[in-house]
């Protein structure tokens, strides 16, 4: 048991190391000199050789690659991701400010998606082969296929421009103005929830159909339980674990996948921060945010693995 937990932990640590090294390598392989980014081209105004040399030393860029790699890993262990080339603000401080904003979108979206998707999945599973099943399947396919930036733009047009019900962009701090936060957050949250819903629905439907074919369901029916009782108490309860696993995995992707939603609604979260970092070639920001998002993904996967293994002993020994 503990050996299995230790193995999972070591595996996660390996992935984290792999991701950190890969990001370091790729960023260093890309042409582009941070010193030129800060001071401008050599020979141009603002670029003077002495200052450039000093800056190069200060950024540690005069050292050979292996030393820089060791420093990068060492920095990570102490929670130091470097400073932005433009604002000179530590990347970790910016991350601490932006991360909750992305969390405010992702968590309500996942909760909403589950609350709507799971009952719909049960509904279609119990009406297999009827017209209802076809309708919800078609809706699921639609929700699964529509890109968020399209649903986002269309919702913004209808609710924001046409009917003037909600603001179409911007962010308000929930601590300052909770209502304003909710009004600004509603559209992006709905868009993201729309990506979770079809996944929750499909997965619930699939596992429900499996579970409803099991012997213990037949027994429950035979002993005269009401269909409602059979479906919810005996069926859904057993069908829910795989659904939660799939949604959990989705959650890992979502932190990195909110970028289009954030950009459509000008929501200043993690992805927007990264996006502007990319355009300004702010390398410490780019590597810092991608690393943190990958680590979140690894962590969520680890937690799912561990909890799944604790719940189901068969996993541990396979």
């Amino acid at each position: 048991m503990w050996r299995w937990v230790l193995r999972r932990l070591l595996w996660a640590a390996f992935l984290a190391w792999g991701v950190a090294s890969l990001i370091f390598l790729v960023i260093n392989a890309i042409p582009g000199d941070p010193v030129v980014i800060i001071l401008g081209e050599a020979g141009g105004p603002g670029h003077d050789d002495a200052a450039a040399r000093e800056l190069r030393e200060q950024l540690g860029l005069d050292r050979p690659l292996p030393i820089r790699y060791a420093r990068w890993l060492g920095g990570l262990l102490t929670g130091n991701l470097g400073r932005s080339l433009y604002t000179n603000v530590p990347v970790t401080r910016e991350l601490a400010e932006k991360f909750p904003r992305t969390l405010y979108l992702v968590v309500p979206a996942v909760v909403l998606g589950i609350l709507a998707g799971v009952p719909l999945g049960v509904f279609t599973a119990t009406r297999r082969g009827t017209a209802w099943d076809g309708v919800t399947n078609a809706l699921g396919l639609l929700g699964y296929s529509l890109p968020v930036y399209i649903t986002g733009s269309l919702l913004a047009y209808l609710l924001g421009v046409r009917w003037r019900l909600l603001p179409v962009s911007g962010y308000v701090d929930p601590a300052v103005d909770p209502l304003g936060f909710a009004r600004h957050g509603l559209l992006p949250i709905l868009c993201l929830a729309g990506t979770v819903l079809p996944i929750a629905m499909r997965m619930t439907r699939t596992t429900m159909l499996d579970v409803l074919g099991e012997d213990y369901i037949r027994t429950a029916r035979a002993k005269g339980l009401s269909p409602r009782n059979v479906i919810y108490r005996h069926g859904l309860r057993n069908a829910l674990i795989p659904v939660i696993v799939v949604i959990g995995l989705q959650l890992g992707y979502m932190f990195g996948g909110t970028v289009l939603t954030e950009l459509v609604f000008s929501w200043p979260g993690l992805s927007t921060y990264l996006f502007f970092g990319i355009f300004k070639r702010d390398y410490p920001v780019v590597q810092g945010v991608i690393l943190v998002l990958s680590l979140i993904y690894i962590l969520i996967n680890l937690l799912i693995d561990l909890s799944y293994g604790l719940l189901d002993p068969r996993i541990r020994y396979s």
Partner: protein
């Protein structure tokens, strides 16, 4: 009813491909010619889908944009499938060091957020069609590698593979004659679903300004332009959205249909409910 879904989606995909291939003839106007009429004109007999903010013919631009989006998406996924197939075959069949190296690399790559990595790479190396194709294929090849790897592990233990190994067949012959044909089913399914994803990714990149450089027509950028001018002419937002959504739906539908067709075991647990009734 896997068959009906496959037929419908293949019909839609072929229509899209033919329309994109014949973009010059069908559109009737050069896609980048500005000031064909008053900007934001709605649909007319001369311009079936109207004119955009610069007075360009929307239909012609959509057809030409489709050419770019569809060719990038299809080419990148075929490339990713080929790379993933080779890596998955080597890892799965050879085992040992090759297995460990290839699969652990794929595991690390799969931890990275795909859209953001694609964005960063496109921004740093450039957004020409060739780079977009290579970058999207790079993001997707580990997924194919996993699918192939998993199938190879099952297939290589089957009796007939062991029989030909016992008869002394060469490794390449076993791979080509027995392993590859048997792992292609899941690969076809993934190719179809993958093209849907690639369209989503390519148009998403174009939407944020990382698509083929202007003035080239591009579906993703047309959605962005439509969004900026939605007060003046909301239809400009609608047309590219419909095409993007329609083509992604078609490829997803094809993938679902193929999965049901190729894997009869799944038909009862995963397939759409329509088949029980009809």
């Amino acid at each position: 009813m896997g068959t009906r879904r496959i037929r419908i989606s293949v019909a839609v995909i072929l229509t899209l491909l033919v329309a994109a291939a014949l973009a010059d003839r069908l559109g009737g106007y050069p896609p980048n010619k500005i000031a064909l009429g008053r900007p934001f004109t709605g649909p007319t007999t001369a311009h079936w889908l109207g004119l955009d903010y610069a007075g360009r013919d929307v239909l012609s631009r959509l057809l030409h944009g489709g050419r770019i989006t569809l060719s990038i998406s299809i080419a990148s996924i075929l490339l990713a499938a080929a790379a993933g197939l080779v890596a998955g075959l080597v890892a799965g069949y050879a085992g040992g060091v090759a297995d460990t190296a290839a699969m652990r690399t794929a595991d690390v790559l799969l931890c990275l957020p795909p859209i953001l990595v694609a964005m960063a790479m496109v921004a740093f190396v450039g957004s020409s069609a060739v780079y977009l194709t290579l970058i999207i294929s790079l993001v997707y090849s580990p997924r194919f590698q996993r699918v192939v790897y998993a199938s190879v592990l099952t297939v290589k233990e089957l009796n007939y593979v062991e029989a030909s190994r016992a008869l002394g067949a060469a490794t390449l012959r076993i791979l080509g004659r027995q392993i590859v044909p048997n792992v292609m089913g899941p690969v076809f399914v993934q190719v179809s679903l993958g093209i849907g994803h690639a369209i989503l990714l390519e148009t998403g990149l174009a939407f944020v300004g990382l698509g083929p450089p202007p003035p080239a027509a591009s579906w993703g950028r047309m959605v962005d332009e439509g969004r900026r001018h939605m007060e003046a002419q909301p239809l400009l937002l609608l047309w590219p959205s419909l095409l993007i959504a329609g083509s992604i739906i078609a490829f997803n539908l094809l993938g679902d249909g193929l999965r049901d067709r190729l894997d009869p075991k799944l038909r009862h647990s995963m397939g759409s409910g329509q088949e029980a009734g009809s």
